[in-house]
């Protein structure tokens, strides 16, 4: 065998890739000069941590957002919140003084556009006076009322109540607009300095958040993280190399290759004018892992040759190492490059494109320096193998690492068919789990939960309307077009609709100011908090305002010509899964209601821009993975000149990716910016293990190993050991990311470590098993002796085995398509069943409501009974309280029903019934969800859910859309089938299955068919007369037909009122007794 190797050596001693050994000094100088030249570009690198960077500059959503900024001066605000836990809240004079001082100081910052600052001291109160409108700062009231007058003024100004100051008075905000987002970091630091220096009264806290703050802090945050992580990764790699080779010199050499790869790549990026994005932060760590792998393999073989052939010169050993390792190192580099080029080819977001492209470049540099520069350095420095290594080699013994690998390897090859079955099962499970992945992203989650900015974001969004914004620009064809009452009413309706959507807690537009002016000019009568009916009156209001206030006060809401207006919505979250339905619902509403020539509406703002770049992450990810796998497969096939080789090399990577999907699903890690990159990295890194393993097996067969056991022994002892260190280097290198303070990087590190581990394990277990089972021709065709393999493979097993790899790949692609379809569907109209149910539940039902309800109950003999009730419902935080009073018939008159409905599914509702005959309030059990309510055909659960569905009760499946008649017009309804999750739930609810039709225009269920637990048709629920009342879609009529009993219940609603406040006292047992 050794003779054969020497023959090969002699035949290839003039190979071109030995150039580095032949001319070490030339290579050394050239390498250093080249490195210096490219690395010099690093001083020109600049960071771009903007969320906008994820979209092409010519993306329509981004362009429109910039246009909005030009017209209305609106940017991503930096939000400062002052909270006061004292009884008086922020209306405490000391706190008001603090807010005043803070506003003054931040307004003086050069980056802050002070004229657009929104804060309590800067905003004006609008009240009526004998001369028209009196517009004066809220702080003017401080002199007289010791803070309480300001509280009253704010509570009389609905626009500011909740937006500027929280309704409980505990928090107030200062919203800063910056002149230039590029200066966000400086502005953020300056604001933080100011807040730190302020002398705060007891109980007062100051928070700084908002997209402006995220932008300002993110760059610094990532720098800080990178400056800690990169050296740590380097240190760990160094330790690994020292442990592996028991010499310090290899560690030094390895670091040189790493340095070349990382510095030259980043420098080259800078020379190319490509910025350092948020995700670029992961690139150095990836390159460190890639670069060190090549070094380990070459050095490992070099030392092995020294140990085996003590008589050889160091140069001969080096030549031998390069002769043996050039091919696999080159193969792995090419496949890795192919993987990253795949990412580049499939990405549509600039940061991902550049990430794929430049990481591929970095891998190429690592290959170049490993194959030429490293041998040149070895040639000059002549590192020697450790004596222990020689002793082990001479005694033909393996060290502990080799033994460990061999033991694990033999375990899997003892019964290769079982190994294949295990991996196939894992792959199938992975495909299923991949379909459960969820696309989500929220920039604030980049920060660790104990970061002040994270906590500030949570605190502000909990108290106020929110720090996340959507802008809706209303465009009219001519000047003063916004004054048209129809346009204003449309805007008002749009605002009402928007505020009915989940997470939209408030909105601001010129409509709100006009209503406030109208109210103020009518002696503050709340009934006049409505739009004036006359265009001229609108114009006069603005004139009156300008007589007392600053006319530029409305710059953010309306343009100079009154042709354009902006509605700004405030949301309390930036989670994609939460904002996506909002954006899509708004777009649907706009498409339906703003298509006229009179006014057009366009969505814009931060949340909208984010929606546009996040919505395709899922599709992009799976397309990228598929393309990368195909690239890698093709390159592997070409290199081994065998399609089977390509498929086999890809199999471990496929397994590792599927396992990561499973882990992500199980650990509830969303597919987001950070995590979506993992697959390309996993492919790039994982393929190396497969290529090395396959190439080594092929080489050993070529060398004449005719006994498979001996072949595997040698494989695990040599390549296995090298791969182990390669794996450990990568594992620890990426493991460093787990300690990152940048949360997406922590997730990224976790799943890359998982995928690398799986690739490593699969390469050393699955591949030998596949070789044993399949006996692929590309390995055995040149073998002088057919190996004696004793594996019980039947012909059927062999056929199955041949189909295994394509099957896994097909499964992956199917998984990809499945998810892609899912993700695509999620981004468009056709949603999955649960999505639809979530949207139904997200339909706003107002903070409080009162309504009259008539119930007409008809039995199978058409005998009618009528009941009239008046009902009130109000939310107290997340708790919903409902009270119903019977007005007729006389035998039920005075009956009252009170329910406290708690948000937690674990807590039963509390319910009380007042029967006049008993004269006392009786506590009743709320767990009889399937009992029929007061003789109607709706159950207590139906009444409680009020047109919604408890997501914990059912599994949902979306069916084909169907046209259905709703109030005389045909609607393409979403159809969903819901089945109770368990038989117990089915029994409890009294339903075995539901099928419901949803109007996607308002997400109201318009029809439901019910089946009982035995599968018999039970009842049909049909809704009609759905109208918008006070901005809330409201059912005014629905009918339930019970097919089993022939009984029918018709519910008619009238006097629905979401505006008139409902007093808290109604939701008490006393009010049940006293009645209305």
């Amino acid at each position: 065998m050794n003779q054969m190797t020497e023959n090969r050596e002699r035949s290839q001693t003039d190979a071109w890739y030995l150039f580095g050994i032949r001319h070490p000094w030339l290579i050394l100088v050239t390498g250093i000069v080249l490195m210096a030249a490219l690395a010099a570009g690093m001083k020109h690198i600049y960071k771009d941590t903007r969320a906008d960077a994820f979209l092409e500059a010519d993306n329509p959503a981004l362009m429109y957002k910039n246009k909005v900024r030009e017209i209305f001066g609106l940017s991503d605000p930096l939000v400062i919140a002052v909270s006061d836990s004292s009884k008086q809240g922020i209306y405490r004079p000391q706190t008001l003084d603090l807010i005043g001082r803070l506003t003054d100081q931040v307004n003086q910052l050069e980056w802050v556009n002070a004229s657009r600052t929104i804060s309590l001291p800067d905003e004006n109160n609008i009240i009526g006076s004998e001369y028209g409108l009196d517009v004066s700062p809220f702080y003017d009231l401080l002199k007289s009322g010791n803070g309480e007058d300001i509280r009253k003024a704010i509570s009389d100004f609905p626009l500011y109540d909740g937006m500027l100051v929280s309704s409980d008075g505990a928090m107030s905000v200062i919203v800063l607009e910056l002149y230039d987002d590029a200066m966000a970091e400086q502005a953020y630091n300056a604001v933080m300095d100011i807040t730190a220096a302020l002398d705060k009264p007891d109980g007062v806290n100051i928070y700084v958040a908002g997209e402006g703050a995220v932008l300002g802090f993110l760059g610094h945050y990532i720098d800080q993280d990178a400056s800690r992580l990169n050296p740590l990764a380097g240190l760990i790699i160094t330790i690994m190399l020292v442990v592996a080779f028991r010499r310090f010199l290899p560690a030094l050499l390895g670091n040189m290759v790493i340095a070349a790869s990382v510095l030259m790549t980043v420098g080259f990026m800078a020379w190319c004018g490509v910025p350092f994005y948020v995700i670029t932060n992961a690139m150095p760590v990836i390159l460190i892992g890639m670069a060190v792998a090549d070094t380990i393999h070459i050095l490992s073989h070099y030392y092995e040759s020294q140990a085996r052939h003590p008589q050889w010169s160091l140069k001969e050993c080096l030549e031998e190492a390069l002769l043996v390792m050039f091919r696999p190192v080159t193969l792995t580099s090419l496949t890795t490059i192919a993987g990253f080029i795949g990412l580049y080819a499939s990405a549509y977001m600039p940061p991902f494109e550049y990430f794929g492209l430049f990481t591929a470049f970095g891998v190429a540099i690592a290959w170049l320096y490993s194959v030429f520069f490293l041998p040149a350095m070895i040639c000059l420095l002549k590192p020697k193998v450790s004596k222990r290594w020689i002793r082990l080699e001479q005694e033909s013994r393996s060290d502990a690492f080799s033994s460990m690998i061999a033991a694990a390897g033999h375990l899997s090859t003892r019964n290769p068919a079982v190994t294949l079955a295990v991996f196939l099962s894992l792959a199938v499970a992975g495909v299923y789990m991949a379909s459960q992945l969820r696309v989500n992203e929220n920039r604030i989650n980049t920060f660790h939960k104990d970061e002040p900015i994270y906590q500030a974001d949570k605190a502000i969004n909990a108290h106020l309307e929110g720090t996340n914004t959507i802008d809706i620009v209303i465009e009219t064809p001519e000047n003063e077009g916004v004054f048209e009452p129809e346009v204003l009413k449309k805007m008002e309706a749009l605002q009402a609709y928007a505020e009915s959507l989940p997470h939209v807690n408030g909105s601001v537009s010129v409509v709100d100011y006009l209503k406030q002016m109208n109210k103020s000019l009518n002696e503050g009568n709340p009934e006049y908090y409505r739009l004036p009916d006359d265009k001229n009156l609108v114009a006069q209001y603005f004139l009156l305002y300008s007589a007392s206030g600053d006319p530029t006060d409305f710059e953010e809401e309306i343009d100079y010509d009154y042709r354009l207006a902006n509605i700004r919505l405030n949301l309390d979250t930036a989670e994609f899964i939460a904002t996506r339905p909002v954006i899509e619902s708004l777009q649907t509403y706009i498409d339906r209601n703003f298509n006229s020539e009179q006014a057009k509406a366009t969505l814009s703002g931060r949340v909208n821009v984010n929606y546009h770049w996040i919505k395709d992450i899922g599709v992009s990810h799976f397309t990228g993975v598929t393309i990368s796998l195909i690239f890698v497969c093709i390159v592997s096939a070409l290199l081994f000149r065998s399609v089977i080789a390509g498929l086999m090399a890809t199999a471990p990577v496929v397994c590792s990716i599927l396992m990561v999907y499973s882990a992500m699903s199980l650990l509830h890690i969303d597919l987001g910016i950070g995590t979506s990159m993992f697959a390309s990295v996993a492919i790039g890194l994982g393929i190396d293990f497969a290529i090395h393993t396959l190439d080594r097996i092929k080489a050993l067969v070529d060398e004449g190993y005719d006994d498979m056991k001996a072949l595997l022994d040698e494989l695990y002892r040599s390549t296995g050991r090298a791969l182990l260190f390669n794996f450990l280097a990568l594992g620890f290198g990426f493991g460093v990311l787990i300690t990152s303070r940048v949360v997406p990087l922590t997730h990224f590190g976790t799943i890359v470590v998982l995928s690398v581990t799986m690739s490593f394990v699969a390469a050393l277990t699955l591949l030998p098993a596949m070789v044993l089972v399949f006996r692929p021709g590309f390995i055995f065709r040149h073998a002088s002796v057919q190996p004696q393999i004793q594996v019980p493979v039947t012909s059927a097993g062999s056929t199955a085995a041949i189909l295994l790899v394509p099957a896994i790949l097909t499964a992956l692609v199917a998984g990809a398509l499945l998810f892609s379809g899912h993700a695509h569907a999620s981004g468009n109209a056709s949603l999955n069943g649960r999505d639809i149910a979530e949207r139904i539940n997200a339909v706003d039902d107002g903070q409080y409501v009162s309504s009259d309800m008539q119930m007409i109950l008809t039995d199978k003999n058409n005998k009618e009974r009528k009941r009239e009730v008046i009902s009130y419902r109000k939310y107290f935080g997340d708790e919903k309280k409902t009270v119903i009073f019977y007005k007729t018939p006389n035998n039920l008159k005075g009956t009252g029903f009170l329910t406290f409905d708690y948000p937690s599914a674990d807590i039963d509702d509390d319910q009380w019934l007042y029967l006049p005959a008993m004269r006392k309030v009786r506590r009743i059990s709320a767990s009889d969800r399937g009992d029929y309510f007061m003789g109607t055909d709706l159950t207590y659960e139906d009444i409680k859910q009020n047109g919604r569905l408890d997501l914990n009760d059912y599994n949902f499946t979306a069916l084909e859309q169907e046209m259905i008649d709703v109030d005389g017009s045909m609607v393409n309804a979403q159809v969903v089938e819901a089945t109770p999750r368990t038989d117990e739930i089915a029994e409890e609810l009294g339903y075995g299955r539901l099928k419901f039709w949803v109007n996607p225009d308002n997400w109201i269920i318009v029809k439901t068919e019910y089946w009982d637990p035995k599968g018999k048709p039970l009842k049909t629920y049909l809704v009609s007369d759905i109208r918008m009342v006070d901005g809330v879609w409201t059912r005014h009529k629905f009918e339930v037909d019970n097919h089993l009993t022939g009984h029918r219940s018709l519910f008619l609603f009238s006097n629905v009122d979401y505006r008139s406040p409902v007093p808290d006292r109604l939701f008490t047992k006393s009010s049940l007794v006293r009645g209305l």
């Binding site: 035998n891 008993m918 006392k920 009743i924 059990s925 007093p1063 008490t1068």
Partner: protein
């Protein structure tokens, strides 16, 4: 005295009429008629043929003020439920406190069942007038439900709403930010339980409730001693909802609704005489209630401590009365796990803390009740079954009733009330009054 009584009645009429007349805005009037007949198998006779006409007048003066007036006319053609000389001493005879029937004869009785005005504001309310106030959690067993007196002329058979005697009072309630409420009752109306006259079906004969006369000994019955004028009853109730529990704490300084029958032997005359002197005595009640729902179960608790309770002795020591504190509680458990069905069990336990062997009642009195009701046909048909077991005498009652809702305005029912057990017992004493009933109800 009759003139005064008549004046009092006119005052009731005046209040009843003036309330709605003064507030002629948004009035809502509706009337119900109930009719029931009872056939007693032991007596082989109709013991009841009653029609009740009840008109309710609700009105709203303004956003904060409502009123309710309910006159009621009761006619019993069978005429075996009351004697012609109704006991007048359960009703006050002085001042404005008049309460009794506006007019009555052997077959008819006209009364102002309720008349009150509500004044409601954001943190409380006041209900002033003639009204019912119900305390406690128990059904059909009284521990805390003692604010209003009761009409026992049909024992416990009528609905409590109909048999509870409304009294004139001021009922104020204050609501706190926490949701807790404080109820304050001020009751100048000294009206007490109305008992069936001797010789009628439901006259009390159990030795626990009425002292038995010794053969050969004459008795001299004195006028009932009523509380003096200007006396008030006062009640306080703190209610709160915490951790899913409805909790109340109650205090009531009141006069017991049954007169204490003091007996003393007069040996000054030739023939020994027993002086019988009924007196309404004062007591104080301290109580608590709690209720909560756990899945399909609802638990109800009610406990009360009377500082003074009066028990009949079997001798004439201490004027034949033992005065002792009494501790009583009711534990109720309702199960609503079956569709449209409620099963309710209650345990009543009363303990005489300062017991004496001569007391007729047992030291510990225990009763069990069980009620099962179920609705059918979208709540148009209701079937109820109620059974009570008094462990003191192993007597009790069983009641059943089937009610059918013909339409929104008409319902009919039929059923039976059956008493059983030792005739010395408070339930067994009415064994002969067991009956079958049928009735109808309409409203318009």
């Amino acid at each position: 005295m009759m003139n005064e009584a008549r004046n009092g009645r006119w005052q009731q009429v005046a209040v009843g009429c003036l309330l709605p007349l003064a507030c002629h805005i948004q009035a809502d009037v509706w009337t119900e008629v109930d009719s029931e007949i009872a056939w007693s198998e032991p007596q082989q006779a109709f013991t009841k043929a009653e029609v009740i006409l009840r008109t309710e007048w609700n009105g709203r003066v303004n956003e904060h003020t409502d009123f309710t007036v309910i006159p009621r006319l009761r006619t019993d053609l069978a005429d075996s439920l009351s004697s012609t000389d109704a006991r007048p001493d359960s009703y006050p005879q002085e001042d404005i406190q008049y309460n009794g029937p506006l007019a009555e004869d052997s077959h008819n009785r006209l009364e102002l069942a309720e008349a009150f005005a509500d004044f409601i504001w954001s943190h409380g309310s006041v209900r002033a007038g003639k009204q019912q106030v119900v305390w406690g959690q128990a059904d059909g067993l009284k521990v805390l439900d003692v604010v209003n007196p009761q009409d026992y002329r049909e024992f416990n058979l009528p609905d409590f709403e109909d048999s509870r005697i409304p009294t004139w009072m001021m009922n104020s309630e204050f609501r706190f930010e926490s949701g807790a409420t404080l109820q304050w009752l001020l009751i100048p109306d000294m009206t007490f339980n109305e008992l069936a006259d001797a010789g009628t079906d439901f006259a009390m004969t159990s030795p626990e409730l009425a002292p038995s006369a010794s053969a050969g000994v004459d008795i001299r019955l004195h006028n009932t001693e009523r509380p003096s004028g200007g006396t008030l009853e006062t009640g306080l109730r703190w209610s709160m909802f915490a951790g899913g529990w409805d909790l109340t704490a109650n205090y009531f300084r009141f006069f017991q609704d049954n007169a204490v029958i003091y007996r003393s032997l007069d040996t000054s005359s030739v023939t020994p005489l027993v002086d019988v002197r009924p007196v309404y005595e004062r007591s104080t009640l301290w109580g608590v209630t709690a209720s909560n729902a756990f899945s399909d179960w609802v638990i109800r608790l009610e406990a009360g401590y009377y500082t003074d309770a009066y028990f009949i002795r079997d001798d004439l020591v201490d004027k034949g009365i033992r005065n002792s504190p009494e501790l009583a509680y009711v534990t109720g458990l309702d199960y609503q796990g079956l569709t449209d069905t409620m099963i309710s069990y209650q345990l009543f336990h009363s303990h005489i803390t300062d017991y004496d062997a001569a007391v007729v009642r047992r030291e510990d009195s225990i009763r069990h009740t069980m009620k099962i009701s179920r609705n059918f046909w979208n709540e148009t048909l209701e079937v109820e079954f109620f059974v009570l077991l008094n462990r003191d005498y192993n007597d009790g009652q069983a009641r059943t009733k089937v009610t059918y809702q013909v339409n929104d305005n008409w319902s009919v029912w039929a059923g039976g009330d059956y008493f059983y057990g030792d005739q010395q017992g408070p339930f067994g004493q009415f064994t002969d009054a067991s009956r079958m009933i049928a009735g109808w109800h309409t409203s318009f």
